[in-house]
Amino acid sequence: MKLLALDTSNRPLSVAVLDDGQLLAMTTTNIRKNHSIQLLPIIEALVKQAGITVQDLDRIVVADGPGSYTGLRIATTTAKTLAYTLNIDLVAISSLRALAANVIDENRLIVPLFDARRENVFAGIYERTSDGLVSVMDDQHLSIKELAAQLLGMQKPVWFVGQDVATYAAFVQDQLGSNFHQVSDALNLPNAFALGNLGLHAEPVAHPFNFVPRYLRLTEAEVEWKKRHPQEDTKPYVERN
């Protein structure tokens, strides 16, 4: 099975072409360059390097969030359009799970994390068992304090993953003491090869039509509006003609 995996959830970009579980070609960047400029040229180049054509693809695997809203939309729009027009399977993998997959050791909690500003993070708690990467706490948007409190209660060694861990390392280490660990730098970046392998046997989305990013957060405007109008609604929000 020829598979394209892509992740532009945050500043790093990672794209890979796989054949079954084997890597054919991969590119990862970690530069301040617009994903919209980079993504498709990189896909084109990798498909070519892999010695296939885009029409040979059987499956698209995309990291669908959480992350930067713009980054998520670029990857998911690209993925859902390709899957739709090529009429192939589309698999969505949490961007946090994809990052957690970088840690291959068992018997430890794995906490992938993205900064969501103002002392909030997008994070999940995972553990690798003989069944693979198991979710211990669902991906969510929460304060770093809440996250630390949860982990403290679990009393296990925790390995934090992600470039944004640095922002909160001092605080979390203070809370968790010797249970706090960080992975090596190379593992802090998303890796589309690992992402592709997570998506190899995963259940595809029902249809690309209804596929949207995993934002894990309503927009501020909607939160405010719901507060002020608990009963009213103007649905359907979108009308097509």
Binding site: L40, P41, V54, R73, I74, K80, T81, A221, V238
Partner: protein
């Protein structure tokens, strides 16, 4: 028989997701428009993040419906055209990402289209554009006069210095208690009233083709606030009529002068606010009095708002002139035509 040129066009610059199939740049085979007005009504205006989220919900459904309705297979297509600016960056990115991916997966050339060129080419569904031509573009975000010396060349000769006409409508709509979008209700209200307030006509005698509506907006708001303070109730229809007359007078006056100074063959009226009846009627009337030989083309009401059909028509022309983009095409939120302030001097 020569092969038909079939363009799959994408538009997502603001709050409509639209995909269309256009034949030979002039015939609309399908034009699917998913409008988000009901969503943004909650907030009294377009919220960019909400708009972007809706676009991604709709985009592939719109592609599929456009192809089905046109009875066109992907393999029949000649090219893909897409709006890449101006507009809301997050919204534009959905259309741009989808169009690029679609073109790549189906080995089709990609044509980048300026949204404002699209608005002008909505008039193409009435009749061909003849050059040199002038376009009056009036929309929520833009009020500008665009000179087109020849095909696929667009030069701004005048534009608004502050608010666009459409923005002014939404702002005074709020004062009148008319919810977003206010353009159409104010237009209708204006038809029931008279210009009794004589609001200022800004820059109408200046030696340029620029517009300004912020002074009018302030005069309007001051009038209403003053009446509130002295407990006087003003006639809303007259207020709307006076506001609209001032907007229309300034736009029509400037446009007539521009048409005279450039020896053009045709005037095109386009953009979301081009659906305004007051503007359509006054401009038609004045032109037939003052410049009866000038061909006046109004974009069809149905295609004044944002839609992909107009992007397909403009894309067809751009393609004829070999304007193509590659996979690195990005959204350009502040894309503008060339600004040629001294074009006539």
């Amino acid at each position: 028989m020569t092969k038909k040129n079939l363009i799959l066009a994408f538009e997502s610059s603001c709050d409509e997701t639209s995909v269309a199939v256009i034949e030979n740049g002039e015939k609309i085979l399908s034009n699917i428009v998913a409008t988000q007005i009901n969503s943004h009504k909650r907030f009294g205006g377009v919220v960019p993040e909400v708009a972007s989220r809706h676009h991604i919900e709709q985009i592939t459904i719109c592609i599929d419906e456009a192809l089905q309705k046109a009875h066109v297979k992907t393999s029949d297509l000649t090219a893909v055209a897409v709006t890449y600016g101006p507009g809301l960056v997050g919204a534009l990115l959905v259309g741009v990402s989808a169009a690029k991916s679609f073109a790549y997966a189906n080995d089709l050339p990609l044509v980048p289209v300026n949204h404002m060129a699209g608005h002008i080419y909505a008039a193409r569904f009435v009749k061909p554009i003849v050059f040199p031509s002038m376009a009056l573009l009036v929309s929520g975000g833009h009020t500008e006069l665009v000179y087109m010396p020849y095909e696929n060349e667009f030069q701004i000769i005048g534009e608004t210095r502050d608010d666009a006409a459409g923005e002014a409508y939404d702002k005074i709509g709020r004062v009148l208690g008319i919810t977003y979008p206010a353009g159409k209700p104010i237009d209708e209200l204006a038809h029931q009233g008279k210009d009794t307030f004589h609001f200022p006509r800004a820059m109408v005698h200046d030696d340029n083709f620029d517009f300004s509506f912020s002074g009018l907006k302030s005069a309007f708001i001051n009038t209403v606030h003053h009446a509130d303070q002295v407990n006087e109730t003003l006639n809303r229809a007259d207020l709307a009529a006076s506001f609209q007359q001032s907007v229309v007078d300034v736009i029509v006056k400037k446009t007539l002068v521009a048409c005279e100074k450039f020896s053009i063959k045709q005037l095109v009226l386009a953009g979301g606010v081009a659906a305004n009846q007051g503007l359509r009627e006054t401009l038609s009337k004045k032109l037939s009095e003052k410049q009866p030989d000038l061909d006046f083309v109004k974009a069809p009401l149905k295609y004044c708002g944002d839609n992909a059909a107009m992007i397909g028509a403009a894309g067809y022309v751009a393609m004829k002139h070999n304007v193509f983009a590659d996979a690195s095409l990005n959204a350009e939120p502040s894309l503008e035509f060339d600004w040629v302030p001294d074009a006539i001097k």
